[in-house]
Every structure is written in structure tokens, then in C-alpha cells.
């Protein structure tokens, strides 16, 4: 098992970049990386290496990002939208829809659906990548995705 110091040296800086793209400011991203490593320290002894340490830590970071979105008010402030570059193209006309979708995503009562949506639509993962990270089958992932899409039809998105 790698030491926490070794994990930090390998993964902290890349994870900072991941967080920074959502927080859009250094200080909040630094806070999130710190929180990730607090949780890694707390849970490292119980880690069973099912998915690889990097995948596990990345998922912790993603959940920190999700928590941040849950806390933020979306309202009309576009600055809380994540950086969609290379994943989604958000034109000004689409900004409101994007906020509505994000609100809908974050308000979903099923945490796993939130993770799936986050990984697919914001992280740009393929379904197989997301399913592997969440340790679920692609059938399960597709079922939850289909249910979410049905609920989103009114947004025509």
C-alpha cells in the first residue's frame, strides 16, 4: 500500500486541475483537493484495490465536485457553471438550459444517477469508463440514464 505522501505527490496536482475546472478559482480547488486527501487518509486502510487507487481517488474528487454544485445556487449566475470546454458547447442561448439541467441533475434523489450524469456529461467519460469507476454494470448505468433522459424530455435537450 502506498503512503499518503506518495499518493499526494502522484495525484494531487492532476486532481487539482480536475477540481479547478469546476471551481474556476484556485482557492476553492485547493480546498477540494485538501478534502480529497482528508478522505483518502480516513479510508485508505479500507481500500481494497478493486478499481485501482487512481480511479478511487478520482471518484472521491468527483464527489467533492458534486457536493460543491449542490451547495452553490445556480440562479442566473453563469459563473457557477463548470467549464464545458471539450465536453459540451454552451452558447449563450443554451446557458439557461444548462443551468436548468444542472439543477435537475443535482436535485436528483438518486446519488448514483448524479454520479453517472456527472461522469458522462461533465467529465466526458464513455459509458464503459463510468460504469467501471462506479463498479456497476453497463446495464444498470443505461437503465438509470434512460430514466433520467425521460425526465428531461421537457427540456428538449
Amino acid at each position: 500500500m502506498e503512503s499518503i505522501g506518495s499518493l499526494y505527490r502522484k495525484y494531487a496536482a492532476p486532481l487539482f486541475w480536475v477540481c479547478k475546472r469546476y471551481t474556476r478559482n484556485h482557492e476553492d480547488a485547493e480546498d477540494m483537493v485538501h478534502q480529497v486527501f482528508v478522505k483518502v487518509q480516513q479510508n485508505l486502510a479500507g481500500f481494497r484495490n478493486q478499481s485501482g487507487i487512481y480511479t478511487w481517488m478520482y471518484r472521491i474528487a468527483v464527489n467533492e465536485c458534486i457536493q460543491m454544485f449542490r451547495k452553490r445556487k445556480f440562479e442566473s449566475d453563469e459563473s457557477v457553471l463548470p467549464d464545458f470546454e471539450n465536453t459540451l458547447t454552451v452558447t449563450p442561448e443554451k446557458a439557461m438550459e444548462a443551468r436548468l439541467v444542472l439543477e435537475k441533475i443535482m436535485a436528483d434523489r438518486d446519488p448514483q444517477t448524479v454520479e453517472i450524469l456527472f461522469l458522462l456529461y461533465l467529465e466526458g467519460m464513455k459509458q464503459e469508463e463510468a460504469a467501471a469507476m462506479l463498479a456497476i454494470s453497463r446495464t444498470t448505468l443505461n437503465r438509470k440514464l434512460t430514466a433520467f433522459k425521460s425526465s428531461m424530455e421537457r427540456f428538449q435537450w
Binding site: I4, A12, A13, P14, R72, D77, N86
Partner: protein
């Protein structure tokens, strides 16, 4: 190359995910995934930019918090949560590197003392390839045009003088001449440009760390984003061009340039490599 996956959501089809890019930076991918990512980045400008941004941001974080203890220590004092921060407080004051970058964006890549004057004038440039021990000041010649440049192989800078590629390490210039530098490299590298002026001091044209968010370099060459326009009023100037696969600080670049000597040639991954051009004022006809 990363192939389009039929299971993709369609939002990021064919491009590596952030998970993959961060994993590539962390060295967490298996060799096949690393090769796929590298191959894709070489042909996809968007992903190359994304990777460059990731490298730059990661380097800034690693410099600021090299250990978990340093990050822990910085979090001792609670900071306001995002929802308590007002819009005016939210953006961090840009660091000096970002300000430098901004300055260059506005200042056209000139040294501070000259930025307020008419644009740069005549110079000379040396092209000293230290690792090769070629410090002899070979007279420069110019061949071809930018579009004809086809340098391949080892990493290094190349120079265009008024649009023509320079061969050699010494260059006679006259006021208002334009110099364009570029880098040829198998992978993007961090770079810096320094100059030693008539007073002997070392100053930055472009700082490596400041440009860390956008490392450059392609096998067929990639031009630096800013040209240098030479200004009259000096006789000679050395231009130090440094590059490394890793980010580096201005102080490190200065130390490397100050210790210019063939015996200090850089070797190994992460070394700070140096090329030097000598600019001489071209005698009036």
C-alpha cells in the same frame, strides 16, 4: 489514436476524458492508454490545449503545495465557502506569473524597458547549442521561408529573421527587424526567453513558468505566440532560449543562463536545456 466509442454519450466522442488526461499526467494509465492519449493529442488541437492547461495548472499547484503537509498547513485558517464569497472577492488576484503573461499579451513580448518605446530594433542573435558544445558563434545564414521549415528530431528552438529561417548562432539585424522563434519537439515543452543587455543583467522576455499553462512544441515545429521587433540603440545582445519537459521558475532559468558553458550541458529527463543566439547590430551600408 483514441477511437470513437459507439457507447459514447456523443458529448465527448473520440476525445479522452478528463479522467484519462489527469491519469496521463499522473502516470496512472497503462502503456496502451498512454500511447492512445499521446497519439490523440498530437492530432487534436483541442485536447492538446486541454493537456497543456492541465500541465500548467498541475505545475502551479505542485509548486505551491509540494507536500501534503504544506497543503494541510494552508488550510488551518478556515476560508469562506463559495456561497459566502461575493462576486468581487471571488477571483483571486492574479499571481505575478499570470500578470507577466498578461503583460506580454499586451506588451508584444518586449522587455519592460523597451515596451514603452517604439518597438524593438536591431539585434543579433547567437545560436549556441550547448549540449552539442557548439559555442563558437557560427555566422548565421538564412534559408527558406517559414512554410518550408521541416525540422525533425531532437527538441530545440528555431529562429526566423524577417520571415526567413536562420541557420547558425549569430545574426546581424537592424532596427525594426522581426524575429520569430519556435520550438520543434516530440511533445510540448515549457520554455523561457531571457536576454542579457548592454549592462550585463539577465532579464526575461518570456518566462517559462508564466507560459507554463501553454507549453509548445510539435515535431514539425510550433511558433511562439509573440514576435520580437527589434529596437535601435544597442550594439549586441545575447538571447537565451530555455526549454524543459517540466515547468521551471524564472530564477532557475536565470541561473541556467548565467552559468552558460558547454560543460554544463543538460542531460536526462527534466533537464533545463539552453540555446543561445547572439544578436549584433548590422552595420549601416
Amino acid at each position: 489514436m483514441v477511437k470513437t466509442n459507439p457507447d459514447s454519450t456523443g458529448l465527448n466522442a473520440g476525445h479522452p476524458s478528463r479522467f484519462r488526461i489527469a491519469g496521463y499526467l499522473a502516470g496512472a494509465l497503462d502503456p496502451a492508454q498512454s500511447r492512445e492519449t499521446e497519439a490523440h493529442v498530437l492530432v487534436c488541437p483541442g485536447c492538446a490545449t486541454l493537456l497543456a492547461d492541465a500541465r500548467g495548472q498541475a505545475a502551479l499547484f505542485a509548486d505551491k503545495f509540494p507536500t501534503l503537509e504544506s497543503l494541510d498547513a494552508s488550510r488551518v485558517h478556515p476560508v469562506p465557502s463559495p456561497r459566502h464569497r461575493t462576486r468581487s472577492e471571488a477571483p483571486n488576484r492574479p499571481g505575478w506569473l499570470e500578470r507577466l503573461q498578461d503583460w506580454f499579451d499586451r506588451g508584444f513580448g518586449m522587455r519592460p524597458a523597451l515596451a514603452g518605446l517604439a518597438l524593438l530594433a536591431a539585434g543579433t542573435m547567437i545560436y549556441l547549442n550547448l549540449p552539442a558544445g557548439n559555442a563558437g558563434g557560427t555566422a548565421a545564414s538564412e534559408t527558406g521561408s517559414g512554410s518550408e521549415f521541416t525540422a525533425k528530431g531532437s527538441t530545440g528552438f528555431y529562429l526566423f529573421h524577417n520571415g526567413r529561417q536562420v541557420q547558425g548562432d549569430t545574426l546581424a539585424c537592424k532596427p525594426s527587424d522581426t524575429l520569430q522563434l519556435g520550438i520543434t519537439s516530440a511533445e510540448p515543452v515549457h520554455y523561457a526567453l531571457l536576454y542579457r543587455d548592454d549592462d550585463g543583467g539577465l532579464e526575461a522576455y518570456l518566462d517559462g513558468s508564466g507560459m507554463a499553462s501553454a507549453p509548445l512544441g510539435k515535431p514539425m515545429g510550433e511558433n511562439l505566440p509573440k514576435s520580437l521587433i527589434l529596437e535601435a540603440g544597442w550594439k549586441r545582445e545575447s538571447l537565451y532560449c530555455l526549454w524543459s519537459v517540466r515547468p521551471f521558475s524564472l530564477d532557475e532559468a536565470k541561473a541556467r543562463a548565467a552559468a552558460v558553458h558547454p560543460d554544463l550541458s543538460s542531460k536526462g529527463a527534466g533537464s533545463l536545456h539552453l540555446q543561445t543566439y547572439l544578436l549584433l547590430e548590422k552595420a549601416a551600408p
